[in-house]
C-alpha cells in the first residue's frame, strides 16, 4: 500500500479533534443541579485489548432453544473471531424481556434507526468526543489524506448467518451507489472537490477508499450520521440508498444485473410494485422488510407500517459483554403506535414504556416529575449541544411567489424577523427556563463556535430596530390592522410557516412567535402539518419558513442539513442543495455571494486537517449568523430527545447520555447493554 502509513489500526483510534470540548458544555448543567436531573455523561466501556476478551460465550435462552432444535448454529460459531466487547456500565445484565417504546407512525423510522445504530462503520464514545470502533474494528488515514482504509472484524456475519465481508462494501459501491436508477444523485461525501472517489477491496476484511485530492474530513464522516457513515438502518430506509455497505447476497436477486430487466420487473409487478427500483427500495429497508439481513442488535419481525413495530434480537449480533454473553440482553423491542404526542406522554407517565426519550415533551416536565413514583420511572435531562432547538429555516431557493422570494432572500428582512423574536419569553414558556437563548451557532464551549458574540448577533429582542429595518427596505406601508403590505399588489404580506409537532410543540411555539411578529407588522400563518407531508413539502422546495431544530450542526461537517444547503432536501434551499451536491448538474446556482462563499469554505474544509476544518466552520457560522438564513431562538436544552424516562426496573442506565445527532441518541449509550433487573 503506497503512501499509507498504517498507524496501527486497532491501537490508534484517535480522539476526533472536532468533538474534544463537548464535555465542558456540562458547565451550564450546574445551574440545573438543584433539580437533580442532569447527571454526568457516561456509558458502557469498550474493551479493545484482545487479551481481556472472554474466551467462551453464552446466549439468550430463546436462542439456546433454537440451537437445540437445530435451527441455529452454536453461539461460538455465530460470534465473530474479533467481536465487539462491552463492559456494561454497572454490571453484567440478565437476558430477557421486551423493551416497550412508543412511535408515531411510518414516518418515525428514526426512532428505531437510532437504537440500531451499532450497524454504523464507526461510532462515538459515550461522551461523544472520540471516534470508536463499531462494525469496523479500526481505520487508518494516509498522510496525504487521499487514502482511507477500514478494517472489518474477522468472521462477522449478517443476521441470516451469511458472512459479512469487504464484498458487501464493494457490492454497495458498484451495484447500488453506482446505479443511477437507484441513486440518481451521488453523495458529495464521495466526491471531494467534485472528483468521485473509489472503493477497492484489499482483502476479505479490508476496504480502501481512494480519492484524487486530500480528504482528511473523511475520518469524521465515516463515524458521523452521514450518507457514508450512517449505517444500513438509517441510510437504506425510505428511498435513501447510502450507508457504504449492503447485503449483496440477498439484494442481488432484485437487481437486473444479476438476472434480467424483464425478470426483476416481472417480479416487481407480481409483488405489487411499479418497477424493480421501487421493489429494491422496499427490499433493502429494514423498517419495512422483515427479510433483509442486518448487522445491528435487532431485526424487524413486524414492519413499521403496522400498529406495533416489533424487533427481535439478531442471533448473529457481533457484540458480547465481558462475561461472554452475546448481546443484546433484551429479547425484543416493541414500538406501539401513538398518533399524538399527548398519548405518548400520557402512556409514558403511566409507566407503559420502559425507556423513552423520543417524543417526550419538555413542557410536561412538572407533570412527568409528579408521576415518577406512580409510573415507577426516573426522569433524566440530557442537555443538547446545538444552537437552536426551535428555529426558522428560511428557504433561499423559494420560487413559488416572486414577492415572497424577494423578502426571504433579503438579509435585512431576515434580521428584522430575528430581532422581532422575544427569546426569553419562549425559553420561560416552553423550555421552563432550561434553554439558552441565541442564534443558531453552537454553544461557546464547542470547538466550532465562532465566539460568544455570535450567539447574540441579530439574535436579541429589539422590535424598534426591527421595525426601522423593515421600514428601510421598502415595507413601510401597512394595512388597516397594522400589517405590512406587499409591494406588488398592496395586499397584506403573509409568510407561511410550516410547523410539525415534534420535539417541542412547534406549532404552538410558532404561534407565539407569530404573535411577536405582529408587533413588527409581519403576518405569519402557521400551518401545522403531519411529519411526512411537511418534509415532502420541504424537499419539494414548497416551503417559505420551515420550523425545526438544528440538532447535529454543532459538528457542522457531519450533519450539515440544518445549517448549510449541501445535502439534497436542506430546508435552507433545496434547489441550491441540489445544485451543490450534483456539482452544478441539477438545481439552481445561488445568486447570493454569501451562499457561494459558504459553499467554498465547506468544500475546502474537506481537504484540510482538523485545525483548518474548525477554522472554516467558524467562518461559515459567522456568515450564517450574520445573514440569518436560519433564525435561531433557544437551544442547548433537553428539548429534543433530552427528556428521558427510564423505568426503575432497568439496569446499566447512564445518568446522562450524549444528546447529539452524531451520538445517535440513545444509540451510543448502547441499549443492547441495558437489561431488566427484575
Amino acid at each position: 500500500m503506497p503512501n499509507l502509513s498504517r498507524r496501527g489500526l486497532l491501537a490508534t483510534l484517535a480522539a476526533s479533534p472536532a468533538a474534544m470540548a463537548l464535555l465542558t458544555e456540562a458547565a451550564r448543567a450546574a445551574d440545573l443541579s438543584a433539580s437533580g436531573l442532569v447527571g454526568e455523561l457516561q456509558g458502557p466501556t469498550m474493551i479493545t485489548d484482545p487479551a481481556k476478551w472472554p474466551k467462551t460465550f453464552q446466549e439468550a435462552p430463546m436462542l439456546a432453544e433454537r440451537v437445540k432444535a437445530g435451527k441455529l448454529p452454536p453461539v461460538a460459531e455465530r460470534i465473530p473471531a474479533e467481536p465487539m466487547v462491552w463492559q456494561p456500565l454497572n454490571e453484567t445484565g440478565k437476558y430477557g424481556g421486551t423493551w416497550r417504546r412508543a412511535f408515531t407512525g411510518p414516518a418515525d423510522g428514526e426512532n428505531g434507526n437510532r437504537i440500531q445504530s451499532s450497524d454504523k462503520p464507526l461510532h462515538w464514545s459515550a461522551d461523544g468526543s472520540k471516534i470508536v470502533p463499531c462494525v469496523a474494528k479500526g481505520y487508518a488515514l494516509s498522510d496525504d489524506g487521499k487514502t482511507y482504509t477500514l478494517s472489518l472484524r474477522k468472521g462477522m456475519k449478517w443476521s441470516d448467518g451469511s458472512p459479512f465481508t469487504a464484498d458487501d462494501f464493494i457490492f454497495w459501491f458498484e451495484d447500488i451507489y453506482g446505479n443511477p436508477e437507484i441513486v440518481p444523485t451521488p453523495t458529495p461525501e464521495m466526491r471531494p472537490r467534485g472528483k468521485p472517489g473509489r472503493m477497492v477491496k484489499v482483502d476479505e476484511t479490508t476496504v480502501r477508499w481512494e480519492f484524487d485530492v486530500p480528504y482528511f474530513l473523511f475520518e469524521d464522516i465515516m463515524a458521523g450520521d452521514t450518507a457514508m457513515g450512517g449505517g444500513q438502518a438509517v441510510r437504506q430506509a425510505a428511498k435513501i440508498s447510502f450507508g457504504a455497505y449492503a447485503p449483496g447476497h440477498y439484494l442481488k436477486q432484485f437487481l437486473p444485473k444479476y438476472s434480467s430487466l424483464e425478470a426483476v420487473n416481472a417480479r416487481a409487478k407480481q409483488e405489487g410494485f411499479e418497477n424493480w427500483v421501487q421493489m429494491l427500495h422496499f427490499k433493502k429497508d429494514w423498517e419495512l422488510n422483515t427479510e433483509v439481513p442486518v448487522l445491528g442488535p435487532w431485526r424487524t419481525v413486524r414492519p413499521i407500517n403496522t400498529a406495533i413495530w416489533l424487533l427481535e434480537r439478531n442471533p448473529y449480533y457481533y457484540a458480547v459483554d465481558t462475561a461472554g454473553n452475546q448481546l443484546p440482553y433484551f429479547d425484543k423491542v416493541q414500538f406501539t403506535l401513538a398518533e399524538s404526542l399527548e398519548i405518548v406522554n400520557l402512556r409514558a407517565m403511566a409507566g407503559e414504556y420502559d425507556e423513552q426519550e423520543r417524543h417526550i415533551d419538555l413542557g410536561k416536565l412538572p407533570v412527568l416529575l409528579d408521576n415518577q413514583e406512580k409510573g415507577n420511572y426516573k426522569v433524566h435531562l440530557d442537555l443538547g449541544f446545538a444552537g437552536s432547538d426551535f428555529m426558522f429555516h428560511v428557504n433561499q431557493s423559494f420560487t413559488g411567489d416572486a414577492e415572497i422570494r424577494k423578502w426571504l432572500t433579503n438579509a435585512d428582512f431576515r434580521r428584522a424577523l430575528s430581532l422581532g423574536i422575544d427569546r426569553d419569553q419562549l425559553n420561560e414558556t416552553f423550555w421552563l427556563g432550561v434553554g439558552t437563548p441565541g442564534s443558531p451557532a453552537p454553544g461557546e464551549s464547542m470547538p466550532q463556535s465562532p465566539g460568544p458574540e455570535w450567539r447574540k448577533k441579530w439574535s436579541t429582542f429589539d422590535p424598534a430596530l426591527a421595525n426601522k429595518m423593515l421600514d428601510g427596505i421598502g415595507l413601510a406601508k401597512k394595512d388597516g390592522d397594522g400589517f405590512r403590505v406587499r409591494t406588488d399588489n398592496g395586499e397584506r404580506l403573509r409568510l407561511q410557516v410550516i410547523a410539525i409537532a415534534a420535539f417541542l410543540p412547534y406549532p404552538k411555539l410558532s404561534e407565539m412567535v407569530a404573535d411577536q411578529w405582529r408587533k413588527i407588522g409581519i403576518q405569519a400563518d402557521v400551518k401545522e402539518m403531519e411529519r411526512g407531508l411537511g418534509f415532502a413539502k420541504q424537499t419539494n422546495n414548497e416551503h417559505q419558513l420551515f420550523v425545526w431544530n438544528n440538532g447535529g450542526t454543532e459538528l457542522l461537517y457531519l450533519f450539515p442539513t440544518w445549517a448549510v444547503p449541501v445535502i439534497p432536501g436542506a430546508a435552507f434551499g433545496p434547489d441550491y442543495a441540489r445544485w451543490y451536491s450534483t456539482g452544478g448538474a441539477q438545481g439552481t446556482k445561488p445568486e447570493d455571494p454569501n451562499i457561494l462563499k459558504i459553499f467554498d469554505l465547506y468544500a475546502e474544509a474537506a481537504g484540510l486537517k482538523a485545525e483548518g476544518r474548525t477554522h472554516n466552520a467558524q467562518e461559515i457560522w459567522k456568515i450564517l449568523v450574520d445573514q440569518q438564513y436560519g433564525i435561531g431562538t433557544v437551544g442547548q436544552s433537553p428539548a429534543g430527545l433530552g427528556v428521558r424516562l427510564v423505568s426503575n426496573r432497568l439496569g446499566n442506565i447512564a445518568a446522562r447520555v450524549c444528546n447529539a445527532q452524531h451520538c445517535r441518541t440513545p444509540g451510543n449509550s448502547h441499549p443492547e447493554t441495558w437489561y431488566f433487573k427484575a
Binding site: L32, A34, S35, G36, E342, N345, L346, M349, G363, K364, L365, P366, V367, L369, D370, D424, Q425, L426, N427, E428, T429, L432, G433, V434, R492, R494, Q496, K508, E511, M512, A514, D515, Q516, R518, D525, V526, K527, E528
Partner: protein, 368 residues
C-alpha cells in the same frame, strides 16, 4: 279576577298576547330567555367586559390560577382589591408557583382604563367594565387565571363568546333564508322542483356531518384571514342547518296551501308574493321562531366541535372551540384545570337555548 273576565280577556286577546301568556307560564323558558339575553349582551359588549388584550402573551404570567377578590379591607369597609402576584419557578419540580403579596393590594374599580378598542366597531375608547387603579390590568387582574402563554382566560373567554354566539346567529340567519326560500319553493310549486329539492335535502342529511365538515373545512385555503375562515365556517355549518328548516317550511306551505283563507285571497286576486308574505308567512312565523331557537344551539355546538377538532377556526381567532382545543393536553389537566372553564358557558348557553326553544314551541300554538 273572576273566571268570566279571564275568559273574556282570552277571547279578545291578540295572538301576540296569547303567545306571551302561554310563554310566561313556562318558567324555565322565561329564565332561559334572560340567560340567552345576558349572553348576547356580553357578546355585544365583549371588549368592554374583557379587561386584558386577549393576545397579550407574557411568560412570567404563565399558568396563574384563578385569583380571589378581597371585597373588604382590614377596617371592614367595602373596598375590593386583588393582591399582586410574585411567580417563581421551583428548581426541583419546575412548576411556577405564584405567591400573593398582600402588602401591595391593587384596587379594583368599575369602568377603569385598559387596552384601546372600538365600541360597536366605531367608538374608540379604552374604558373597560373592570379596571385596576395602580397597575396595568394585564399585570394584576386574573379572575379566571391565565393559560400557558400568560394570556388572561377571562378576557379570552368573553371575546370567544362573541365569536361563537355570532357564528350561531349568522349561521341560523343564513340557514333561515335558505330554508324558507327553498322550503317555500318546494312546498308552493311541488312537482319536479319539490322532488329535486327534497332529494338534495335527503342526500345532505344522509352524509355524516363530521366527515362532511372535515372535507369542507379542509378545503378552506390556508392563506385566508381568520375573518374569512370565520365566514367560511359559518357557511359550512349553515349548509347543513338549512335542510331541517326547509322541511318545516315546506310542510307548513303544503298544509296552508289548501286552507280556505288562502283560496279566498287567491279568488280576491292577490298576487303570489302577497299571498306568501301577507297571509302564509305570518301564520307560521311563530313556528319558525321556535325552530330557529332550537337550531341555534346546534350551530354553536357545530362551531365548537369543528374548532376543537382543529378543523374550524384557528388561532389567532378565539372561540369556545379554539379555547377548548388549547386545553386539550396533559399539562392543562394536571397543572391548569381552570382552562377547562370554557366548557361551562357552552353547557349553559346550549341548555338555555333548548329550554327557550321548548317554551317558544309551546307558546307558538297557544290554543294547543
Amino acid at each position: 279576577m273572576s273566571a268570566t273576565t279571564a275568559e273574556s280577556r282570552v277571547a279578545v286577546a291578540t295572538q301576540r298576547q296569547l303567545i306571551w301568556w302561554r310563554f310566561r307560564k313556562h318558567k324555565l323558558a322565561l329564565v332561559s330567555a334572560f340567560v340567552v339575553l345576558a349572553f348576547y349582551v356580553v357578546a355585544v359588549f365583549a371588549d368592554t367586559i374583557a379587561y386584558t388584550e386577549p393576545f397579550d402573551t407574557q411568560a412570567s404570567r404563565s399558568y396563574i390560577p384563578p385569583q380571589p377578590i378581597h371585597w373588604f379591607d382590614a377596617a371592614g369597609h367595602f373596598h375590593p382589591t386583588v393582591n399582586a402576584l410574585k411567580g417563581t419557578r421551583d428548581p426541583r419540580t419546575f412548576k411556577l408557583a405564584y405567591v400573593p403579596d398582600a402588602s401591595e393590594p391593587r384596587d379594583l374599580v368599575l369602568f377603569g382604563h385598559g387596552y384601546e378598542y372600538r365600541l360597536f366597531g366605531i367608538i374608540p375608547t379604552d374604558i373597560h367594565l373592570l379596571g385596576v387603579v395602580n397597575s396595568r390590568p394585564q399585570d394584576a387582574l386574573f379572575l379566571l387565571g391565565t393559560d400557558q402563554l400568560g394570556r388572561d382566560v377571562f378576557s379570552r373567554l368573553i371575546l370567544a363568546s362573541r365569536t361563537s354566539l355570532s357564528i350561531g346567529l349568522i349561521g341560523v340567519v343564513i340557514s333561515l333564508v335558505l330554508g324558507v326560500l327553498l322550503g317555500g319553493i318546494s312546498g308552493l310549486y311541488g312537482g319536479w322542483i319539490d322532488v329535486v329539492i327534497q332529494r338534495v335535502i335527503e342526500i345532505l342529511r344522509s352524509i355524516p356531518t363530521i366527515p362532511l365538515w372535515m372535507g369542507l373545512a379542509s378545503a378552506v385555503p390556508n392563506s385566508w384571514t381568520p375573518q374569512q375562515v370565520y365566514f367560511a365556517i359559518t357557511l359550512i355549518i349553515s349548509l347543513i342547518g338549512w335542510t331541517e328548516l326547509a322541511r318545516v317550511v315546506r310542510g307548513r306551505f303544503l298544509a296552508l296551501r289548501e286552507e280556505d283563507f288562502i283560496t279566498a285571497a287567491e279568488l280576491a286576486g292577490a298576487s303570489q308574493m302577497r299571498i306568501i308574505f301577507k297571509h302564509m308567512v305570518p301564520s307560521f312565523l311563530s313556528h319558525i321562531i321556535a325552530a330557529v331557537s332550537l337550531a341555534l344551539p346546534a350551530m354553536i355546538i357545530s362551531e365548537t366541535t369543528l374548532s376543537f377538532l382543529g378543523l374550524g377556526l384557528r388561532p389567532p381567532a378565539i372561540s369556545w372551540g379554539v379555547l377548548l382545543q388549547d386545553a386539550q393536553n396533559l399539562q392543562t389537566l394536571a397543572l391548569a384545570p381552570w382552562l377547562l372553564v370554557v366548557a361551562l358557558p357552552v353547557i349553559v348557553v346550549i341548555l338555555a337555548f333548548n329550554f327557550l326553544g321548548d317554551g317558544l314551541r309551546d307558546a307558538a300554538d297557544p290554543y294547543g
